[in-house]
């Protein structure tokens, strides 16, 4: 049974608490005092066996017992902090919980992300944050409660989290998370094991260009020059650790050749993007907790630019420029540290302090912020000198809340989901997978790099296995069979699920797919249950999901489909004849004799007769050929047995198929092959086995050509 609300189920799956290592000492809890052991006799000191081995003491005259020594006051034992991240699983959902109530700079918030587990795939589902907490100390532990804000419609929006208090030398306690309605009806319960004192983790791959002189930046002692905070040595890693974010340095490749900056040592944004695509190990289009930072000499904007987050769409990469700030003086090291941390802040979607109102949703501008995200020269409290004298080398509270508790999409690199305008599509349908160990690769590509307006949009779907063990798959790659789902993001930003005109209920008999083998199919996406999908010029994005027999949802790549504007009046006229709901239905059905589609057939006849040389006339001929190659039954109350049957028109079908299969037409090879397959069936049924065999050979050649 499908449950799309991770807060709603009442079933409890108890997760065994794993053993954890002892953590560092935490603050003292005055109410918790360890009891001294009572009884200091020989037996307790030596153990009962040793005591039993001692000879009994001879009886001696009674002597007054010496006074007992004074009891030492009990030591207060430090308690563990409960803040950090926890993980729990219940009912096919994983909850990644972040508790922020104690420790360094607590923001008194909780937040979390849900990941849906289906088969071998884990897909991000949604996030929540609780801005206002009620914290109660009870015998059961710390009880933290609050009303959450969710990225999805949650039936149980109240969280109550119970975390037993433990001493510093004890393993961390799990967090029991209960979701409740506002009237305290219990929903889902998760038992979440302690994960980390950090709220989020990200890898950072730092690369260097060959012309950047040594030494490269590593750290700065904030006590070197007057500042507003405690003196300490800070690096990028420790600066973000203070904010609760774990930055994990990732292995860098060899030094990048300055020649990638094309002719001079100055980098353009385009060159930086290209370099990132080449060198960043984790470069991709799906959200991921990985960042790339390049150390170079100078940007083409000149020495005044110290750094830039050049990847404004994906926020995966940034660059710092040493031309003006390279060196080892305290002033230079301070600027280098500031710039490194500042640019990574942009990667996390933090805006400049005085520009918070430009964010969506808008924040409050704060030019007086003593923050990594200000410009010292713009500091409203007195400019550069005043800024440095007061700056404590920290983010301000609002920025820390964002870093620790922002909804996942608002912070994760490549975070904006594919489904922009998710009101028209189930948001979790196209969520990027967090993990996919299905062993399958699903690819979707358009058959043309661009389509004319009115041209049927056809994509090719390919499924292959890269697992040495055979993977069980079904061979139904067409969206008509619900073995595959396809989403289309339109130029206007709306995203819709493609629903075919006709659904085929098929038996998904699993078959093994060997490593290196491939299944393929084409699918017409131009028209479906709700009309036309590509009726406007512009760039669309399309993505597919393959629903594997074990339930895994294998995501395809995101492919772009460009529909061109009409270039001539003839293009415009043909597009108008090709674009219509009836014409779309005829392309989806590959022709029809149905009376209610007569207007559509008439329009396509006009394309063939009046615009016969236009490239799109091929498609009109194709659907006519396909329809002519088969018999067609119509229910006709006036006909004998209420059924009239049109016989196949083989000659017409052959003539049209020969016309559309010429190499110069725009029809793709697989569609041509399918047309010949249909013709071969009809020839065979008509007793023309030789003709059928010749046509099948043509089909096989076309399929072979499509694989090259």
């Amino acid at each position: 049974m499908t449950n799309y609300d991770p807060t709603s189920t009442g079933t409890l799956d108890v997760v065994q608490e794993p053993a954890t290592e002892m953590q560092a000492p935490t603050e003292f809890g005055a109410a918790e005092i360890a009891e001294e052991p009572t009884g200091t006799g020989v037996a307790s000191m030596l153990g009962t066996e040793a005591a039993a081995a001692l000879p009994e003491a001879e009886a001696t005259p009674t002597v007054a017992a010496p006074p007992k020594p004074a009891m030492l006051p009990p030591f207060p034992i430090a308690l563990r902090h409960v803040s950090g991240s926890y993980v729990g699983i219940a009912n096919s959902f994983e909850l990644d919980l972040r508790v922020d109530v104690d420790g360094a700079r607590p923001m008194r918030r909780m937040s979390g992300d849900f990941v849906r587990i289906i088969g071998s795939t884990r897909t991000y589902f949604g996030s929540f944050v609780i801005d206002s907490l009620v914290i109660t100390n009870t015998k059961a532990g710390e009880v933290i409660r609050g009303l959450g804000r969710f990225t999805f419609s949650a039936s149980h929006p109240v969280l109550e989290v119970t975390i037993p208090r433990r001493r510093f030398f004890q393993p961390a306690a799990p967090a029991t998370v209960r979701f409740l309605t506002t009237t305290n009806q219990l929903g889902a319960t998760y038992v979440c094991s302690w994960g980390s004192p950090f709220f989020r983790s990200v890898t950072l791959q730092t690369e260097t260009v060959s012309d950047v002189p040594a030494p490269l930046f590593t750290s700065y002692d904030t006590g070197s020059l007057p500042s507003g905070g405690p003196a300490r040595t800070l690096s990028v890693v420790t600066a973000y650790a203070e904010a609760g974010i774990e930055v994990i340095p990732a292995a860098a490749g060899p030094v990048i050749d300055i020649a990638e900056a094309a002719g001079n040592h100055m980098w353009s944004d385009a060159e930086l993007m290209a370099s990132m695509a080449t060198h960043f190990t984790h470069y991709g289009t799906a959200p991921h907790w990985d960042l790339w930072q390049l150390q170079c000499l100078e940007h083409e904007l000149g020495p005044s630019l110290l750094g830039i987050m050049f990847d404004s769409q994906g926020r995966q990469g940034c660059a710092v420029f040493n031309f003006s700030m390279g060196g080892t003086t305290p002033d230079q090291l301070r600027t280098q540290l500031y710039c490194h941390v500042h640019e990574l802040g942009h990667c996390f979607n933090l805006m400049h302090s005085w520009q918070k109102s430009l964010a969506k949703p808008a924040g409050v501008d704060n030019p007086s912020a003593l923050s990594w995200m200000n410009y010292p020269q713009k500091y409203a409290g007195g400019g550069t000198g005043a800024f440095w004298a007061a700056f404590p080398f920290q983010f301000i509270d609002n920025e820390i809340v964002h870093l620790r508790h922002a909804f996942r999409a608002a912070i994760i690199p490549e975070g904006n989901p594919f489904t922009i305008g998710a009101a028209e599509i189930d948001p979790q349908v196209m969520s990027d997978p967090v993990e996919d160990v299905s062993g399958l690769d699903f690819r979707i590509e358009p058959v043309h790099s661009s389509f004319l307006l009115g041209e049927p949009v056809v994509v090719e779907l390919r499924l292959s296995s890269f697992d040495k063990r055979p993977r069980m798959v079904h061979g139904h790659l067409s969206p008509q069979t619900s073995g595959v789902s396809i989403a289309v993001a339109r130029p206007d930003g709306r995203a819709v699920r493609f629903e075919p005109l006709v659904d085929h209920l098929v038996s998904r008999d699993p078959q093994p797919l060997q490593e290196g083998k491939e299944l393929s199919e084409t699918a017409y996406l131009g028209s479906g249950k709700h009309g036309l999908y590509f009726e406007q010029p512009g760039t669309y994005k399309v993505r597919g999901i393959y629903h594997a027999p074990d339930g895994s949802r294998v995501m395809s790549n995101v492919t772009r489909i460009r529909v061109r504007y009409p270039a001539t009046q003839e293009d415009n006229d043909v597009a108008e004849l090709m674009l219509g709901e009836q014409q779309g239905a005829l392309f989806a059905l590959r022709g029809s004799d149905a009376e209610h589609l007569r207007a559509g057939n008439d329009a396509l006849d006009t394309v063939i007769e009046k615009y016969g040389k236009h490239p799109l006339a091929t498609y009109a001929r194709y659907q006519k050929a396909f329809n002519a190659a088969r018999a067609f039954k119509l229910v006709d109350d006036a006909a004998p047995k209420r059924l009239s049957v049109r016989a196949p028109d083989i000659a017409r079908a052959q003539s049209l198929m020969n016309a559309v299969s010429a190499p110069t037409t725009r029809l793709d090879e697989i569609s041509k092959a399918q047309g010949f397959d249909r013709l071969a069936v009809t020839l065979e049924a008509a007793g023309n086995s030789e003709g059928a065999s010749q046509v099948r050979q043509t089909s096989q050649k076309l399929r072979a050509a499509s694989r090259r």
Partner: protein, 103 residues
């Protein structure tokens, strides 16, 4: 007497959203461009270096649409860097002694 050449750096910073911007220095148009747009990543739209023999110059900046205008006198020897921002619908000119840095 031979006067030296002084360079004044005028930078368009925040608030530009496609306006046509004109800069006049001591009555001489030195800059006119349409579609001026602030890059929010670095809070900078454009810049120009103006050479002049004057040590004090009058800088006038206007932006359309909106008929925005502002002017200021700049002591080029002391504050040769001039930041131009559009803040709450008005042009703001801020001379500075130090070069601007962006990140």
């Amino acid at each position: 007497m031979c006067q030296g050449i002084n360079t004044m750096h005028i930078a368009l910073h925040d608030g530009f959203a496609g306006q046509t911007v004109t800069i006049v220095v001591d009555g001489r148009q030195v800059y006119r461009r349409s579609g001026v747009q602030t890059d929010p990543r670095i809070s900078r739209a454009d810049s120009i270096d103006v050479e002049t023999q004057a040590t004090v110059a009058t800088v006038e900046v206007s932006a359309q649409p909106g008929n925005l205008q502002a002017s200021t006198q700049v002591d080029i020897k002391v504050t040769p860097y001039v930041a131009v921002d559009i803040v709450r619908g008005a042009i703001k000119l801020t001379p500075a002694a130090e070069p601007f840095q962006y990140m």
